[in-house]
Each structure stands twice: as structure tokens, then as C-alpha cells.
């Protein structure tokens, strides 16, 4: 359990400027300090609290660093097999159409082993939200190459850097799902600064509001650091992300209200 901060003399109602959302439990997160997963969890949880849908939400956790998301989200969660969260969520939503259903997946989960489930859930326009945490690496298993690993980027299975000639190019799955008729809202955000966090939260809110209106699938990619996997300090990892990930994975909306955003 969390060690709680106990200073009654300053913990007074008039001093309260922020409190943790009721949609997160008190369990201490196992994420590495500085990792984006914790922030992303908080934003999802805050949106669910603000929409008043805690009792109507069923989340689907992936296999990856966020496999234990159910320890932190204070609403119903199913833990899915590696890559299969969109299939699991499809069934939940089809059987409980009045509930709110979302998946929370890493890049290995969503864009490698689960590519088929991702594309087909998006293409069917399942009325769910997919939260996609792209950190360009397999965090949980110790920093192996992911489908999203940048060209030249070293990982434990591309120790000399990703050689696109033999290892293939990074996959922009978000651009792919944006082209599918079943997706209603597709965006790429980040959680490395307060401003980025606010924008990501707005996107998540829009995604869940879309689900309320039965608009089809909303896909929110969140670029996040994996400082442990990248072998950088949290601060350096975020800088590396801005310098290297952002030019390749451009931030912003790709599709809004079912319309592609023309970036030219």
C-alpha cells in the first residue's frame, strides 16, 4: 500500500488544489520513475471520473508493462492475451453496448502480435476506445525491438541499431487505422509536458464522448518514454523523444469526426 502523506495542519479543504481521481486505486504503481504509463493511466481515469461513468466502464489491459493496469484502475478490468485486447473489447461492447469499453495497449501488443485484431476492430468500427502507448520498444520484456522502433535505434535485439534493410521499417499503425472507414477519431499525443498532458486529456475525453454517441472507434496514440528500455534518465529520455520520435511520429489529430485531417 501507498505511504500516505500525513500533515493535518496543512491538509485543510482551503488548501486543496488537486486530488487524485477516485478512478485510480491507492496501489503504488510499479512503473519506472518518469515513465509515461502512470500519467496516461491517470488521464484515462480522470476522464472516466469526470464523465461519471466509473460504474459503466470496462477496461481491457494488455500484455506489456501495463499488464497490471487493473491494479490501478478503480473500475472493472479484464486482462487480455498479448495483442488480443481489441477482440476482447469487441465482445464486451457487443454484449454490453450501453457500457464504456476501452483497451490500453503498448506498441508491441497493438502493432506487432495484435496487428490483425487492431486493424479488424478498427475496420469494423467497433464502438470502443483504443489507447495506444507508443514507446518504440518492448518495455516489459527488457527493451527488445518493437514494430515502432526508429531506424538506427539500438535495442537489445537490434544492438547495432535497427537496420531497416534486414529488420524492416517502423510501422505507423496510427496512420493505417486512420485510413479505415470504421475509425471516427484518430490522434497522436504525448505526455511529456503539462501542455501535452492537457491536450492528451482533451483527446481522451473526446474519444469517450464519441463512444457515448455511438460514433465508432476512437484511437488515441500517446507517445511515451521508456527510460529504462532506452537506457536514459527520465529527463534525457523525454528530450530524446522530442528530438527523435516526434519528427517521425508527428503529433496531432489524424482524423476528426470521421474526416481525415490534411496536413499539407
Amino acid at each position: 500500500m501507498a505511504q500516505t502523506f500525513d500533515r493535518p495542519e496543512i491538509q485543510t479543504p482551503e488548501n486543496l488544489v488537486y486530488s487524485k481521481t477516485t478512478c485510480l486505486t491507492d496501489n503504488v504503481m510499479h512503473y519506472c520513475p518518469g515513465c509515461g504509463h502512470g500519467t496516461a493511466h491517470r488521464l484515462v481515469a480522470e476522464v472516466i471520473e469526470e464523465m461519471g461513468i466509473q460504474s459503466e466502464t470496462i477496461g481491457v489491459a494488455p500484455v506489456g508493462c501495463s499488464v497490471l493496469a487493473y491494479n490501478y484502475f478503480n473500475f472493472d478490468v479484464q486482462q487480455a492475451a498479448h495483442g488480443r485486447a481489441p477482440a476482447v473489447a469487441t465482445a464486451i461492447k457487443r454484449l454490453l453496448p450501453e457500457k464504456y469499453v476501452f483497451t490500453y495497449q503498448g506498441d508491441g501488443d497493438l502493432a506487432a502480435i495484435g496487428t490483425a485484431e487492431t486493424i479488424h476492430a478498427c475496420n469494423r468500427g467497433e464502438n470502443i476506445v483504443i489507447v495506444f502507448i507508443n514507446n518504440g520498444i518492448y518495455g516489459m520484456t527488457g527493451g527488445q525491438m518493437a514494430p515502432t522502433t526508429l531506424p538506427g535505434m539500438p535495442t537489445s535485439t537490434s544492438p547495432y541499431g535497427r537496420d531497416v534493410e534486414t529488420m524492416g521499417n517502423p510501422l505507423k499503425i496510427t496512420e493505417i487505422v486512420a485510413m479505415l472507414p470504421g475509425t471516427h477519431f484518430v490522434t497522436r499525443q504525448a505526455v511529456h509536458t503539462p501542455a501535452a498532458v492537457r491536450k492528451t486529456k482533451k483527446s481522451l475525453r473526446m474519444a469517450f464522448e464519441n463512444q457515448k454517441l455511438n460514433k465508432g472507434l476512437s484511437f488515441v496514440e500517446i507517445l511515451s518514454n521508456c527510460n529504462s528500455g532506452w537506457k536514459l534518465s527520465p529527463v534525457k529520455a523525454n528530450k530524446w523523444m522530442v528530438d527523435n520520435m516526434f519528427p517521425f511520429y508527428e503529433l496531432g489529430d489524424l482524423k476528426v469526426n470521421g474526416e481525415m485531417i490534411n496536413k499539407d
Binding site: S55, I58, A61, V77, A80, T90, A91, L95, H120
Partner: protein, 360 residues
């Protein structure tokens, strides 16, 4: 009113699922069982009962859809044939690990590999010994008629929910494709979400105010806790062995020789019993209806009475291992089988019985 219909085994499965009050079917086409999905799509169960039917992008997706639906306390089933069932194994292991109820139908075809679309029983080991990773068991039902195809759907759901365990209906291309008359059960109503929440407090139907959230997972990283979970599963399998063994003993009372056969092999073996008895040879047939739990006790008992046992299977000899374990060396046990989609004739089986058991 009970209704009598002439149906294919596969159609009987589909119709029985609707009537059992199933909430959803998820599947992917493969011969020889595609009629299940086709029949369901044609019948529009959504209009009849509100049942969801979805053609998934693969067997992998389908079994994971089953996981998602089952975790909501819903009555969910899927069906496939051998290669597709192989693909589902990871999902089945997750379902067993997370202790979720569901029905899985395997209309077996010959293998290995892409094999053949003709009937076989070569997925016996995969069905009764686990199939996927980890120490788990499925409840395995073996229908030998179109009637049982229908009956085992309802029974399967009852057992699945009783034990919170996946139930596998191990059929084959003969039973799936042949037509027989079936007495169909009356419509069981589907349960509302409120009824489900009441009945299945573990289901993810939304966290209720003041109550803890529902978590469905098969993960427990701490070995000591994972061991406790495994022990709990093993206790459940033991209970199944004590309470759920089902078999049919055909002319076993005075039998001097015994055949053990399930599914379509049992249909053929039953003919062999009459052929032998016409010749004055007292042959009996023990037909396991549950393959897991296996009717070991009755086979052990009969082993004390007969002079020899023939395990008749459409495979290279899989169930014979369980028969031998049950017999425990008491009497001679031999196997007769055809493989790769070949169906033995009663005469072939009778000859094998004479050569391997009666004469041998």
C-alpha cells in the same frame, strides 16, 4: 412444445445454442463445421433472442472474443475444426486460467497440418490432456449422434457455469455432417445484466457503488500465490472426476469382450456388437460420453470381467492410453484405428476384434 427436426449435426449445434439462451457466438469458417456460423447468420438469432453472432478475423480473435464475453458472465460459444482449434489454444489456456465458462466445439478433421477435411478423432490428446500451456483441463463431451450434438450444448453451458471452466464438445466430421432427427429443447430465456450480476458476482458488468471492482486475469506473478491458484484448479478437476463422469454401457452385463469407443467410432462399434452377438460372441461396448473426466472406474471394473479390450478410434491410438491406465494391466488392451480421414467399416473393426482380442 418439443420440436422434432431433421438436421445436420452442425446445424443442431447452432440451433441448440440459440435455444440454450446463448448470448453470443464468435467463429471463423473452416470445413467441416462452417454450417454452424452459416446457420446462425441465416437464422438471425439477434431477432429471435438478441444473441450476437460475429464472424471474427481469425480463430485467435474468436477465442479472445469468447474470453471477453465470458468474463461478463455471458453464455458464449465458438466452434472450429482442428487447425483452428490449434490456433485457439493460447486463448483456451487463458480462459481456463481465469476460470471463465464457455463452450468450444471441435468438429475434428484429419491431421497433422492442413491434413484433410475428412473426419478424424486425432485431436483426442489435445482435448483431454490440456492442449495449450499450463496445468489445466477442459470438460470434454463426445457426442455420438445429432441428438447429442444438440443436447451437449445445453449440458455444456450448465457444466461450464457450474465449474467456471471451458467445456469442449469433441465431435468429428461424420457427426457434424450427417443428418438425423433431433428433438429440440424449448427456448431458454437469456438472462438480463441484472440477473447476471446477481448470479455471477465475479463478472465484469461494471463496478457497483460501494463494492470492489471486478478483475478478470490469469496472471499471478508471485509463485506461492500461483501455486495456490493451481491447487484450486486441481481440486476443481478432482471434483469433476467425482461428479461428472458420463458413459453409455451397451450390452456390457454379460460381455466377454469389450470395445471402448467414442463419437462416430462408437456408432460403428455398436454395429460390431450386433454382428458379434449374431455369431454368438458376447461383445459389449463402453462409450465414454465425457472424455475428461474419463470413465476409468467402470472400465477398470469391466476389465475384471472380460477377456480382452479393443479401443476403437479414428486415430493412431490415443484414447487407448487412458483405457490402459484404467485397466492397469488386468487384461489385454489393443487398439484398432484408421487415420487421416478414413472411416473404418464395421467388418474391419469386427475382423480386428477377432484377430487382436478374441483369437489373440
Amino acid at each position: 412444445m418439443k420440436e422434432l427436426k431433421l438436421m445436420k449435426g452442425n446445424e443442431a449445434i447452432a440451433e441448440a445454442a440459440i435455444r440454450a439462451g446463448a448470448d453470443a457466438y464468435f467463429g471463423y469458417p473452416i470445413t467441416p463445421q462452417s454450417e454452424i456460423l452459416e446457420y446462425l447468420m441465416m437464422e438471425k438469432p439477434h431477432e429471435r433472442t438478441g444473441m450476437v453472432v460475429l464472424q471474427a478475423e481469425s480463430e485467435v480473435a474468436a477465442i479472445n472474443m469468447v474470453y471477453g464475453g465470458a468474463a461478463c458472465g455471458k453464455k458464449v460459444l465458438t466452434s472450429s475444426s482442428s487447425p483452428g482449434i490449434s490456433l485457439k489454444q493460447e486463448g483456451i489456456s487463458y480462459i481456463a486460467g481465469a476460470e471463465l465458462p464457455c463452450v468450444i466445439v471441435n468438429v475434428v478433421r484429419g491431421g497433422p497440418g492442413l491434413g484433410t477435411i475428412q473426419p478424424s478423432q486425432s485431436d483426442y490428446f489435445q482435448s483431454v490432456k490440456g492442449g495449450g500451456h499450463g496445468d489445466y483441463r477442459l470438460l470434454v463431451l463426445a457426442p455420438a449422434s445429432v441428438q447429442e450434438m444438440a443436447d451437449h450444448v445445453g449440458l455444456g453451458f450448465d457444466l461450464a457455469f457450474k465449474y467456471r471452466n471451458p467445456v469442449l464438445i469433441l465431435s468429428d466430421g461424420v457427426i457434424g455432417q450427417m443428418m438425423e432427427k433431433v428433438e429440440l429443447a424449448e427456448q431458454t430465456p437469456r438472462l438480463s445484466n441484472e440477473e447476471l450480476a446477481e448470479k455471477y458476482p465475479w463478472a465484469t458488468l461494471g463496478k457497483r457503488d460501494g463494492e470492489p471492482r471486478h478483475i478478470i486475469t490469469s496472471l499471478e506473478l508471485e509463485s506461492s500465490k500461483q501455486e495456490i491458484h493451481n491447487l484450486k484448479l486441481q481440486a476443481k478437476y478432482k471434483r469433476m472426476n467425482e461428479e461428472e463422469v458420463r458413459y453409455e454401457a451397451i450390452q456390457c452385463d454379460d460381455a466377454e469382450y469389450l470395445m471402448v469407443a467414442f463419437g462416430s467410432s462408437a456408432r460403428i462399434a455398436q454395429k460390431v456388437v450386433s454382428m458379434a452377438r449374431e455369431k454368438g460372441i458376447k461383445v459389449g461396448l463402453l462409450r465414454p460420453i465425457t472424455l475428461y473426466p474419463f470413465p476409468s472406474e467402470i472400465i477398470h471394473k469391466l476389465a475384471g470381467q472380460v477377456k480382452g479390450i479393443l479401443s476403437v478410434e479414428m486415430n493412431a491410438g490415443q484414447m487407448i492410453e487412458d483405457v490402459k491406465l484404467a485397466v492397469c494391466g488386468k487384461v489385454k488392451v489393443e487398439h484398432f484405428g484408421r487415420y487421416g480421414g478414413m472411416i473404418p467399416t464395421p467388418t474391419e473393426v469386427f475382423n480386428a476384434l477377432e484377430q487382436k482380442i478374441i483369437g489373440g
